[in-house]
């Protein structure tokens, strides 16, 4: 395999800490197997850097099967790389050609400050969920699950929205760094279910307010988020968020 490996030039964003200036640094890599995942290719690079006495490239990753939402690379100008419907960890080197130059940058957004190299702080998403992305039911208080029938169509739509993995590709790819797709996915999931309707008004008002506080941009309906979302969360959710917000804001007594 080794003699058939690809040669690549990586241009990787290196940044020591949140307050340091960063820059793109070139790293040539050789013997890249097309069967490697993109992150495995970075593993190999890091092994080499450690052996050379250099600091390895920091990047977020965990499950490496596309579900935890931790990996977050902007590869050749696209969130999670050139393929659609997958996360960075699911991207394999066979998507590239021998001799390619690959730009690797962190998610860029005011609300996602860089921690180090390619690692960013996405706790803004947690704070948005904490603002209302839940149903206020305490453990033990629930009635029998089947006492609450849910129209299958709504249940399926709620599930489609709930598939969001919170990776932040929507923000990273949006020209405005807007978090509307993320927020709309949670608002939609809960708005579509009868158990979520009870707090629907408060929820949407509070979550949108928190989204704005965090410094995400405005949605201008470019639709890029939907294209780059590894889980295919639909723009319909954003429309639903707009509706939910409008009716809640109009009806709100505050």
């Amino acid at each position: 395999m080794a003699d058939h490996g690809m040669k690549l030039t990586l241009k990787i964003w290196r940044q020591k800490g949140p307050k340091d200036a960063g820059k793109l640094v070139d790293y040539p890599v050789t013997d890249v197997s097309p069967d490697m995942s993109f992150l495995e290719m970075l593993d190999v690079l890091n092994e080499q850097l450690v052996m050379k006495g250099e600091e390895p490239v920091a990047f977020d990753h965990d499950c490496r099967e596309g579900i935890c939402g931790m990996c977050s690379l902007y590869i050749n100008g696209r969130a999670h790389g050139p393929q659609t419907g997958i996360t960075t960890c699911q991207l394999h080197m066979r998507s590239f050609n021998d001799g390619d130059t690959i730009y690797i940058e962190p998610w860029r957004a005011e609300a996602f400050p860089v921690i180090k190299d390619l690692v960013v702080d996405r706790s803004a998403f947690d704070r948005i969920i904490q603002a209302g992305g839940y149903i206020s039911v305490n453990t033990g208080a629930a009635q029998d699950a089947n006492c609450l029938p849910v129209n299958k169509k709504d249940a399926d739509a709620a599930f489609s929205a709930a598939m969001c993995i919170g990776c932040g590709a929507c923000v990273a790819t949006c020209k405005n760094a807007s978090a509307m797709l993320f927020v709309s996915a949670k608002v939609s999931q809960l708005a579509l279910l009868p158990q979520g309707r009870i707090e629907a008004e408060e929820r949407v008002l509070n979550m949108v307010q928190q989204m704005d506080v965090e410094g995400f941009g405005n949605c201008t309906n470019t639709g890029a988020c939907e294209v780059e979302c590894p889980k295919g969360i639909s723009l319909q959710n954003i429309a639903r968020l707009n509706r939910e917000y409008l009716s809640a804001a109009l009806m709100s007594e505050k």
Binding site: S33, V50, G133, T139
Partner: protein
Amino acid sequence: MCALNSKIPVGPVDKKWTDYKDHALLVNPSNKRSIDVIVIGSGLAGASAAASLAEMGYAVKCFCFQDSPRRAHSIAAQGGINAAKNYKNDGDSTYRLFYDTIKGGDYRAREANVHRLAEVSAAIIDQCVAQGVPFAREYGGLLDNRSFGGTQVQRTFYAAGQTGQQLLLGAYSALSKEISKGSVKMYNRHEMMDVVNVNGKTRGVIVRNLVTGKIERHGGHAVLLCTGGYGNVFFLSTNAMGCNVSAAWKAHKRGAYFGNPCYTQIHPTCIPVSGDHQSKLTLMSESLRNDGRIWVPAKLEDAKAIQQGKKKATELAEADRDYYLERRYPAFGNLVPRDVASRAAKERCDAGHGVNATGEAVFLDYAAAFERYGHIEANKRNLVNADSATIIAMGKEVVKEKYGNLFDMYQQITGENPYEVPMKIYPAVHYTMGGLWVDYELMTTVPGLYALGEANFSDHGANRLGASALMQGLADGYFVIPYTIGNYLANDIRTGKIPTDTPEFDEAEKAVKDRISFFVNNKGTRTVDHFHKRLGKVMWDKCGMARNAKGLTEAVGEIRAIREEFWKDVRVPGSESDFNPELEKACRVADFLELAELMCLDALSREESCGGHFREEHQTEEGEAKRDDVGMAFVSAWEFAGDPGKAVLHKEELVYENIKVVQRSYK
């Protein structure tokens, strides 16, 4: 140390839990506010426990090493969650779920715990639905169930292939609710480095802020370890990269016994290793075995030709294929339990019949399914004279409907189109049944230190049933610990805030700091991964799917040698006061290197084959597992004694009063 006291309540098994709850001590709401509970880990067990305890009024601190509690590896569970709801009217009951779990665990689990698990299973579903977890539903709007893991009833609730994700996000939302109220203080990107015991009770933890490198002390009246399993000791597993044993291992070294460390579940349907660069293995849902047929070439020369790429699978005639599961287990065929299927694959590959370059893969073939579904489809559409190409094409459409996302995933990873060539699969480490020994109250042998979810040893015996891991994690967090922890904390209401400026905290913090500065200052010549990979290979070869005394003894020696070399020669770049993933790995691998030895010792001492533990010395003439229900019906609980090799074995006898112990057979 104390003899093992599992604190199982007296009385009939189906009354134990009710009776326990009726008499457990309670903590008055106003006192709960002044009691601090520390939760390590934010997966199903951790998030559900932290949220539930905070709702009750305890002051909770929760820690996770990921950037958000939502990333915990529970999220990757695909299949579903069992619950004895009997919504399908097919005769399910608490007893049956209890029975199936004990039997599935090869009669090595504690009856009382498993019965409690079955009892609370239904409430988990209620709780999750109330939280907005979008389970699959039928057209009437009620919840759907499927059959899973070869059970005879349909009791598995699911959300497409992402049940773990949906349940975790439900628990995460409950946790977020409590964080917003201030009743849980959440620490993301913080890793537990040690537990601190004061006067024989756990009173806090030392954690490292992974972003700044700062070492912090946190005092608490109780500490809950919800830190998952240790499958990554094998380097390659289906676990996430960050999964580790460190919290449990640190607890072990501070006095908590480690239960059944050798019980490892190997999942038969994973995508095989593609090369040395491999960092993890990906599970393909077990459901693929429902329609796929597993085979290897019957003739060695064919296998060799396929390994060298000179022959293709599709060129082999039907007679030259060995459908070994169907041959050996005609009754269950391709649907035999995970451990049986895994071992059978290994047996064929060891005999030289493997089908990829490494010789460690078998075919999972859908050709027959395409044809079968194609014929059904042709009948449906009244196509009497459809040619075989049309039939196959229609069959592929049906398969695409059912398994399209899995086929896509396979193609994404391997670059091969599974609609045209058979998939290749091989077993991989998936789940560890062993873990910290806990009593009925989920407390370890150290008072005030609890272990929940995969981190404890408790409910799955020697082998876990499909769709039971999610059930156990949530049962522990939502419905067990909220009751049992009061029984301990009720005695702590006058203790007051736990001070962290005591010699015990000083000592623990110093040990942590010393270790870290050793790593960053040790100018070794090998990377952390180098050692981890070597350890993984030893474990996989000698303490993996099949084990024997000779191999295990060798493994102990090899592990000790790797460990020694590691401490001499490891190189960790970067600084201690910085975001330093290599340092995190070094700390974790150091603990794996010790755990691995204990696993081998445990495997050596367990002179039988049961569930996820197969000793080649203990098999029937047909090569099936042979249990020893007279001599080995106990839980092995290991006490740390200064060195992993010197661990002391304690035994908790397993008594079966409600279930007749029989040998499993899938013939």
